[in-house]
């Protein structure tokens, strides 16, 4: 009797699963070759799985991500589902365990994320820089000064229009750090928070003749559409270190969220930080300009892997403590 019941349950379950598969199948209509990767298929091979990546708008909008992900898919047969948000939102998605991996650029936010135990195995990936852009008539007179902090002070003093992302993104975080270094509490009618991505913010700054802080990649990819020019260069062109823009990649801690695809996440990190992945990053160009500079490999035997700033290993149980 018990066996019969089990058989019935298996049959019922099988029917339900078939119904479900039929339902989800509608979304892959016409693409059966790729459609087999629905989560209901439950196969064991890596090609049946999918990697969900939460990342920033800058890696996405410059087109780098498509290049990198195509290379990853070619190697591993696994498509990458990329969600582009600001750094803050991407880390929030990660905190909820809604993605497998994060690629962001705000060291202070990444440190906090790692300290709280949500992230694991962070690697430095690449860097580029921020540039201060503005209208060619340059009302605050910051052009060619080579001093980012001084430039921000001049913008504040002359009350020249400044467009801020205001969206808790990596660029926004960097911008606020420069204001802090400049000893300015930005606010008032000259300081606009767009609450939008870098592209929109560049557009708004351009339309209204204002300044803004942009990552170099997004600025280059958009410079034909806007009337802004680089007034203060970042470290890639010999500018100050405060304009450096390092990107990190980190896996979600499977001890906190057991639903994440940790193995695949580590394959992705492994690929990105391999010679091949770093070559893809190095060779990616837009309008003949290199946008990102690989940073994961070093000939230096004492090459420092990632450690959060102010990390105290003693008493924290090996450092990879699970979150609160």
């Amino acid at each position: 009797m018990a066996i019969q019941r089990r058989g019935f349950l298996a049959l019922a379950g099988g029917t339900a699963a078939a119904g479900l598969a039929g339902c989800t199948g509608t979304f892959s209509g016409g693409e059966e070759s790729e459609g087999g990767n629905e989560s209901t298929s439950g196969g064991g091979s890596i090609a049946d799985q999918e990697l969900v990546l939460a990342t920033t708008t800058s890696t996405y909008d410059t087109g780098l991500l498509d290049e990198v992900n195509a290379a990853f898919e070619e190697n591993f047969g696994t498509p990458v589902q990329a969600i582009s948000q600001g750094t803050g939102a991407a880390l929030e998605t990660a905190r909820a365990g809604d993605c497998d991996i994060v690629m962001v650029h705000a060291r202070s936010q990444e440190d906090e994320f790692m300290r709280n135990g949500y992230g694991i195995n962070r690697r430095d990936l690449m860097y580029n820089d921020f540039v201060i852009v503005g209208p060619s008539d340059d009302p605050a007179g910051i052009g060619g000064s080579g001093d980012a902090v001084g430039a921000f002070q001049a913008i504040a003093e002359s009350q020249s229009l400044f467009a801020s992302r205001g969206d808790n993104s990596g660029t926004n975080t960097a911008e606020l750090q420069i204001w802090e270094a400049a000893g300015v509490e930005p606010g008032g009618e000259w300081y606009l928070e767009t609450g939008q991505g870098m592209g929109d913010t560049l557009n708004q700054a351009s339309q209204q003749g204002g300044y803004t802080l942009s990552d170099r990649g997004t600025f280059i990819s958009q410079q034909d559409e806007i009337e802004l020019e680089i007034l203060v260069q970042g470290p890639v062109e010999g500018g100050p270190e405060i304009l450096a823009n390092p990107y990190g990649v980190l896996a979600i801690n499977p001890a906190v969220h057991d639903n994440v695809n940790y193995q695949l996440a580590m394959s992705y990190i492994g690929f990105l930080t391999s010679q091949e992945g770093q070559d893809v990053i190095e060779n990616y160009e837009l309008d003949g300009e290199q946008l990102f500079f690989p940073q994961a490999l070093s000939e230096d035997p004492n090459f420092q892997q990632y450690v959060p700033e102010g990390w105290q290993p003693e008493g924290t149980d090996g450092g990879n403590a699970t979150g609160e």
């Binding site: 989800t24 509608t26 979304f27 209509g29 016409g30 693409e31 790729e34 989560s39 969900v52 708008t57 909008d61 087109g63 991500l65 498509d66 290049e67 990198v68 992900n69 195509a70 990853f72 898919e73 498509p79 990458v80 589902q81 990329a82 969600i83 582009s84 909820a96 365990g97 809604d98 993605c99 939008q196 991505g197 592209g199 929109d200 560049l202 557009n203 990819s221 958009q222 559409e225 806007i226 969220h257 639903n259 837009l286």
Partner: protein
């Protein structure tokens, strides 16, 4: 699908894998959501339209409020529900087309219910009475009423479809606007693609996608209008 891909998009719009794939996601998600909404809405509208029960005024008010409910709020609520830490987290729906269907279903159902309700209550009582008098069952009567109100109901479904396919706030939040590296859309539909293109300053592509969206809505309207209008004139 980086910048190089723009050229083929502009030159041969319907040959473009990227655009076809986006259109397919838009249509699959919205048509599924509207079909499910219709299945729920028509019985609800029939019940509310012809039955007297306590709280009927409240139900009508809820339906009418739902018709104008802000889509970003629906998106947030659906995101909380399907996120891994939400009550439906175990179903693994976050950032999938299914999650987009859920949010569009929530948005379209009140619209279809509300407009159908107006059409159904507009059917003359004599029609119902006659149907009952001829010995019809409840189902027969309902079918007669639906037949009589079919133009209104078709309008309701169209309004629901319009609400679903043109909506961007919630699907961006719950779907994540995902396309694969080869340009195959997964949760990217026309509206979220337009948002993305505009964000990157590629206004020509955004405008083009917008034109496709408008054309699709017109096309569906024409088809439904033809199906609905065939019987009467």
């Amino acid at each position: 699908m980086a910048l190089e891909a723009l050229q083929p998009i502009v030159e041969l719009p319907f040959e473009s894998h990227y655009i076809r794939s986006i259109v397919r996601v838009s249509l699959t998600v919205s048509l599924t959501a509207v079909a499910l909404s219709t299945l729920v809405s028509i019985p609800v509208a029939l019940t509310v339209g012809f039955k007297e029960f306590p709280g009927k005024g409240l139900v009508t008010a809820v339906i009418n409020t739902g018709m104008g409910f802000p889509s970003v709020v629906v998106g947030l609520v659906v995101l909380f529900a399907v996120s891994n830490e939400g009550p439906l987290g175990a179903l693994d729906l976050v950032f999938t087309p299914q999650a987009m269907v859920i949010s569009q279903f929530v948005l379209a159902t009140p619209v279809i219910t509300g407009v159908s309700l107006a059409a159904i209550t507009g059917v003359d009582d004599a029609v119902r009475n006659a149907a009952y008098a001829m010995g019809g069952t409840r189902l027969d009567v309902a079918l007669v009423v639906i037949k009589e109100a079919r133009f209104g109901i078709a309008t309701a479904v169209l309004a629901g479809f319009g609400r679903a396919i043109s909506e961007v706030g919630s699907v961006l939040i719950v779907g994540g606007n995902i396309a694969y590296a080869d340009g195959t859309a997964y949760t990217r539909n026309l509206t979220t693609a337009i948002t993305l293109e505009a964000r990157q300053g590629r206004y020509e592509t955004a405008m083009f996608l917008g034109a496709i969206l408008v054309a699709l809505v017109l096309l569906v309207n024409a088809i439904v209008g033809r199906l609905g209008g065939g019987g009467r004139r």
